[in-house]
């Protein structure tokens, strides 16, 4: 069966169907042919239905390069998350509760929806900052203390996400 | 796995249950409705981790599937209620 001969919708449905079938294998733990057949049918059906509901198209910014770059990005991000959690933990346990929270806003350099989603999730998981609202390119972020504000406005996270999706101005990309 | 580690993790599960009850205070007494959602969200997360621990150290395979459903329901409930009170 040639891939070119299939319609575009079918080609874009196949990765999702394979992923769902993999989940089916993990959660049933059975390898009878009946179970495999049932899993294949259910996976194909659900992939088709969800593409029908979403609109029949993956985000065009997602490709194999992004998938490859995701691993160093995830490693750096998890290190940041550990530091952030330790910071919040020490603040919470101190009897004087050294916090001075407020909401700040800033404009992002990122364009596409998926990059902004990734940036919002990263901000929520790292140093004392929670994204509360996005309007267009403007981010409203709640910061726990002044160190967190300055850390956020340096834009290290933003540069990481810009590197991941190859977006924004060239000099703003990079892991450091 | 040794018996000592198994007993240690049962104590861990007990501590987590006590923590969940403390979080339930925030769910009952929170001044705004969002405080209650956070409280319930955290209680659900802790319940899920307790289920994972029990399934490993008591040998109950079924609890893993229940933990998955718990995580999914937790997410759906949080998103639905917060989008509902937003409008």
């Amino acid at each position: 069966m040639k891939l070119k001969a299939m319609s575009r919708t079918v080609r874009e449905t196949i990765p999702l169907a394979l992923f769902l079938f993999f989940l089916w294998l993990i959660f049933t733990e059975k390898t009878n042919w009946e179970h495999l057949l049932l899993g294949a049918i259910v996976a194909a059906l659900f992939a088709r239905i969800s593409f029908f509901m979403v609109g029949g198209r993956l985000d065009p910014n997602l490709n194999w390069k992004v998938a490859l770059r995701f691993f160093p990005f995830a490693a750096l991000l998890s290190w940041e998350i550990m530091k952030a959690s330790w910071d919040v933990l020490t603040r919470v346990f101190r009897p004087s509760l050294p916090i001075s929270p407020r909401i700040i806003e800033f404009d992002s350099i990122l364009d596409s929806d998926i990059a902004k989603t990734m940036l919002a999730n990263s901000i929520t998981l790292t140093p004392g900052t929670v994204t509360v609202e996005i309007e267009g390119k403007r981010f409203y972020v709640h910061c726990l203390a002044q160190e967190h504000e300055s850390g956020l406005l340096e834009g290290k996270l933003e540069r990481m996400v810009a590197w991941l999706f190859a977006e924004g101005p060239d000099d703003m990309r990079g892991l450091r | 796995m040794s018996d000592l580690v198994s007993e240690f993790f049962l104590v861990v599960a007990a501590i987590l249950v006590v923590n969940a009850f403390l979080c339930l205070y925030r769910g009952a007494a929170g001044p705004t409705i969002q405080d209650r959602i956070i409280g319930i969200n955290i209680v659900n997360t802790k319940t899920m981790v307790v289920l994972l621990v029990l399934s490993t150290f008591l040998g109950e395979e079924l609890y893993l599937d229940i933990a998955l459903v718990y995580a999914l329901l937790n997410f759906v409930v949080t998103i639905t209620i917060s989008r509902y009170i937003e409008t």
């Binding site: 933990l89 806003e105 509360v132 | 981790v49």
Partner: protein
């Protein structure tokens, strides 16, 4: 890796997880307002559950249960940040004012005015 070393590592990761979970609870009970309560709720709980999962994975070894636990914990990683964001957004839109110390402007400032609020 010897069996004893594995058990010691498991206990260390388990203790770390419990510490983070207790921190999340204490933060939830002590913080003054909704937005600050979001911080321990989204961060400490995520790290605590990941740490306990690593401990469990060390004890289970290579097994089908390991994959199941991995699926559950990846789901938790993706969803906890999103739910925190959703709760914060609903509070922001319904106009819940953030708690602030005296002399601090609690609401958005942009551009060059960013630092004058303190």
């Amino acid at each position: 890796m010897g069996s004893v070393a594995k058990d010691v590592l498991t206990v260390i990761f388990g203790l770390t997880g419990v510490l983070f979970f207790i921190g999340g609870t204490v933060g939830l009970l002590r913080c003054p307002d909704l937005y600050s309560r979001l911080h321990p709720a989204t961060k400490c709980d995520t790290v605590g559950s990941c740490s306990i999962t690593i401990a469990l994975a060390l004890q289970i070894g290579l097994d089908i249960a390991l994959f199941k636990i991995m699926v559950v914990i990846l789901l938790l990683l993706v969803t906890s940040a999103s739910s925190g964001h959703a709760i914060g957004r609903s509070a922001f839109k319904t106009g819940v004012m953030p708690w602030h110390k005296k002399g601090v402007v609690p609401w958005p400032l942009k551009g060059e005015d960013r630092w004058t609020g303190r």
